[in-house]
């Protein structure tokens, strides 16, 4: 096996175990892993931005293809940095205004058409489309699709009432808003359930690698490093801490 692959495997296992060591308690290995992760992520992003943006999208077309129109966006980009110089900081605001105007102009109509209107359509259309009977489709088969639509309508209405604070929540409003709370709770529960699944998937992903890298092919990387980490913790807890306690007592 290539030595660089082996080195990568041992580094990956070591850093994974460093990060999981936080479950025992906050420690120097965890903090080391955390800082390495941050450093590598930022370093990777910087390299990618320089290679993809500055070299591929600006430098090469400008120098090799003589695409001089690119000077305009390049200058606009550089002008954003004028905010660090108080006297000419106003230049950056002009560019920001351009970015905000462009973004809002593109985004707002599409968000209204594709987001708000589509959401309303999704809620209202299924009920409007009922032709053949509430519980039966065009083929005469039993269906619960319309029940779903009804639940969605009740849910949306009651949640909106719950978040409507201009009227005191009494009588009918109170009852409807209470139904709204239940819908909100169910939504949070569903979301949390999926979150648990997502977090467990991450753990499973790391465990997959740890199990794979514990094989003889990788010189038992996971087992060796896990034992070493546990030994370090034991030495710290038993020997060093005990020594510190003895010193304090003296």
């Amino acid at each position: 096996m290539d030595n660089t692959v082996l080195l990568g495997v041992w580094l990956a296992v070591g850093l994974t175990l460093f990060m999981y060591s936080f479950l025992y308690k906050d420690n120097v290995f965890f903090r080391f892993g955390e800082h390495v992760y941050l450093g590598i992520s930022i370093g990777y992003i910087i390299v990618r931005v320089i290679f993809n943006n500055f070299i591929n999208d600006l430098y090469k077309p400008l120098v090799e293809d003589r695409d001089y129109i690119l000077i305009i966006p390049a200058l606009m980009g550089l002008a954003l940095y004028t905010r660090f110089f108080t006297r000419i900081a106003w230049v950056s605001r002009v560019i920001f205004a351009f970015i905000v105007g462009f973004g809002a102009g593109l985004g707002i109509p599409r968000t209204i058409a594709g987001g708000i209107f589509k959401q309303l359509e999704g809620v209202l259309m299924p009920l409007a489309a009922i032709k053949d009977g509430f519980f039966f489709n065009a083929d005469g088969n039993f269906t619960l699709v319309n029940i779903n639509s009804l639940i969605i309508i009740v849910g949306i209405t009651s949640v909106l009432v719950y978040f409507f604070f201009s009227v005191e929540h009494k009588g009918v409003v109170k009852s409807v808003s209470r139904v709204g709370i239940y819908f909100v709770m169910i939504a949070f529960g569903a979301s949390f359930g999926y979150t648990v699944m997502g977090r467990m998937s991450l753990l499973i992903g790391r465990c997959y690698d740890l199990i794979e890298f514990s094989s003889p092919k990788y010189y038992y990387a996971s087992i060796v490093l896990l034992i070493m980490l546990i030994l370090v913790f034991i030495i710290y807890e038993v020997v060093i801490k005990k020594g510190e306690v003895l010193k304090t007592n003296e």
Binding site: G114, K118, S191, Y194, T195, M197, M200, Y208
Partner: protein, 274 residues
Amino acid sequence: MSLSWQKIINLDRRIIYVLISLAVIIPLMKPLFIKVNITPEVQAVYDTIESLPPGSAVFLALDFDPAAKPELYPMAEALLRHAFRKDLKVIGMTFWVTGAGLGEKVFSDIAKECGKEYGKDYLYLGWKVGDYALVIGMGEEGISKTFPKDHYGNSTGDMAILQNVATLKDISYLIELAAGDTIGTWYYFGRLKYNFKMGGGCTGVIAAGWYNLLKIDWINGFLGGLRGAAEYETLINKKGTATGGMDAQSVTHMLIITLIVLSNIIFFVTRRNK
């Protein structure tokens, strides 16, 4: 009696961590082969790819980073395998700079496995700054004009795959694998204007919100979290890491449910005793 209840309530959280670790590791080492049922939203994505004639273009947006790899990477593998088996042309890119390397790996690995040729059968554009401007650019100006160079720095203009797939209008199906909210960008600036079919896959954390997108027809189906990936692996009949992980997932879920029920029972018992 109440003392033992109290002991359980004050249980060291690290014992729960150990239990969870065992619940993950043991099923991974000794699989239980729990059956994976196919949900309609995953079936819809499969059926759409299955219905495309050979040579159709599929766009795979890999908008995730290594943090979402355990969930979304198996989806990318399964979808690519399916698309290549069907002789579809696949173009990929990512909005996430930290995901550029993962995209490259999944494309090159699966293409090699399926014997596909770069530039003819598939193309990986990689990452580029621009967000929605890229989608508009690919729709209006063309894919090769928006991405004159691919991930490796090759010129895209003369690639065979782009001769029949000049813009996003020529895409038959776009699949968005998302760990964030990039699906809005693809919908608002892509599907809404160019009217291609869209499906997707997402991490478990955001999956609950995606059912709404099904309802309002943003997407025709999606793969939610590791389970979605496992379902797709079952559909294409190629078991991978997602299917293997589902045993561990099921056991940990059972453990968590047991702990929730147990802690609630203890809570009510101790409250009544007080």
